[in-house]
Symmetry: C2
Subunit: 325 residues, 2 copies
């Protein structure tokens, strides 16, 4: 998909305590020490985080909620209730999306499509995740204090929101919708390995279709492959791994300091790529420190039930190309 006129006009990000202590901690618009964000449950906290991100976005852009034509977004909770309940407090036409941790990229590309085609003047794309609500839904009650293998990832507590309009400092130029891919991985603790083939597939297809290569970009950013998945992606693409001097990087590796923080293979979750894009890369693009980047949001389309039923983990990666104007 090539977009005539779709721009990121503004971004907002909200994150949790662990994310605040990470290398990007100072870049988020708001961080909270309280994992409940003042609410009664972690599910409501995630919803509150999503609501705050959208409202902060509107404030930063000096817009009223009625200036928005459509809100697109989703999260990892059952029935996408974090975003659904956030939308309940925002009187805006709402399209709920779900492609696991690729939801941020999905909402960006669909928002760009609706704005560029003129169906919406201004769209807000949003995605969120919360460590505590995810952990108890996908794995175990937090109170168990269950151990996790070193290649598992830490769900980011964070939300990102993007204002997509017909002008702005960052242009969304092209996008590619990913295909569902799986290579037989069934270990729900090893999402990075499950998702790496999907990222490789989408990136390869994009480079082939557009006649571009990684060297045409200042940054080729994956959503949340973490350490394990990023190493596998490098292998699949025949490249140097993240951090080895190339232009590949992963939001799940950027958001935490793996040496200092107990996050195993790095970050994951819808909120991971959403808030790293809305805080770190948005600033880099806006200041023209990077001119052109790719975001390949990666998602694992599993559920605890499919895992219990010993199914494979189907994965997807959606790609968005962004350019500083």
């Amino acid at each position: 998909m090539c977009f005539e006129r779709a721009y990121i006009a503004q971004c907002a990000s909200v994150a949790g305590k662990l994310e605040k202590q990470g290398p990007l901690g100072g870049l988020f618009d708001m961080t909270a020490e309280d994992s409940y964000f003042g609410m009664d449950s972690w599910e409501q906290a995630e919803s509150e985080m999503s609501r705050i991100a959208v409202n902060m976005l509107l404030k930063k852009a000096s817009l009223d909620v009625n200036d928005i034509d459509v809100l697109l977004g989703g999260d990892l909770l059952n029935q996408c209730t974090a975003t659904g309940f956030a939308a309940n407090s925002l009187p805006v036409p709402f399209l709920g999306l779900y492609n696991a941790c690729a939801t941020a990229a999905e909402s960006l590309l669909l928002g760009a499509a609706l704005v560029s085609a003129g169906y919406a003047g201004r769209a807000v794309a949003a995605a969120s995740s919360h460590f505590c609500s995810s952990e108890r839904q996908f794995r175990f009650p937090l109170e168990y204090g269950s151990q996790r293998p070193p290649f598992s990832q830490n769900t980011v507590t964070g939300a990102g929101a993007f204002l997509i309009g017909q002008s702005g400092p960052v242009r969304i130029t092209r996008a590619l919708i990913g295909k569902v891919t799986e290579k037989g991985i069934k270990d729900a603790n090893n999402m990075g390995a499950a998702m790496a083939p999907a990222a490789a597939d989408t990136l390869k297809n994009f480079f082939e279709l557009t006649g571009t290569s990684p060297r045409d970009y200042d940054a080729v950013v994956t959503g949340d492959l973490g350490y394990e998945g990023s190493a596998l992606l490098a292998e699949l693409l025949g490249r140097e791994p993240c951090g080895a001097g190339g232009n590949f990087c992963d939001c799940g590796l950027l958001i935490y300091d793996r040496e200092r923080q107990d996050v195993h293979a790095g970050g994951s979750g819808c909120g991971c790529s959403a808030c790293v894009m809305a805080a770190y890369f948005w600033e880099k693009l806006r200041r023209k420190e990077i001119k052109r980047m790719l975001l390949a949001g990666t998602g694992a389309l599993l559920s605890p039930r499919t895992v219990m039923q010993k199914q494979v983990i189907p994965c997807i990666a959606h790609l968005v190309e962004a350019e500083a104007v």
Copy 2:
């Protein structure tokens, strides 16, 4: 949203045993006596149903899977795995959507937008639900045989798939994305009452924005309000209820014979509006028995956890206008 050129070129529908025994039973492309659809679990059965619907659609349209540019769809299962796993067997770019039972209308309107804007030559919109997988996820294990109040609805076992292209016998002319609405209903057994205000809101807004009224349409169809919700919608709009001679009708009331079948207030689920639209209304439009219709897909954005946390039920309704060509 007004579409320049978005057409429903073909439809396919798959349904279960109870739906086969209902008034529309003879119209579905495939029905199965076996609630497992030959698979090992109800979740896999739902996925299989979704896969069959898309493959049957391609067969009816004499197309190969590679002729499709994008598959859009979703379902009610946690993490939308019915559609995610179906997409895993279909090598097509995939956009996962979730707006509960409004997902069929959501996929139709987004598919129409992508095709009309030229981002996709052909899109497939799909949605599914399964009584057994939904019941055990949202309510109780089926083995409990729990009683349900008379105003509760029966989740339809069914899947519908729509081929959206640049020509065809049915044109998608306009659409309206709904806003999340709730009026304080917290009873998860009374989805009809929860969703009726959302349907009323979207219909009112559409009539106001377009200068049309119900009498401009041969049918004004709601997704799955059931008996209770349809009666409330009639009240909210100051109209005669469904079946009282007017042009309002509800997929949840059409799919079952409430006198003869034990379905309480009627059908519900993503598959309800999907397979009634793909079987019954598709035939009516194709044969020009109706010329112009509105489909207001209705969805309740709750989860079992939000119900346990005593939250309200936010609801949404997306509207699609369709015309026989």
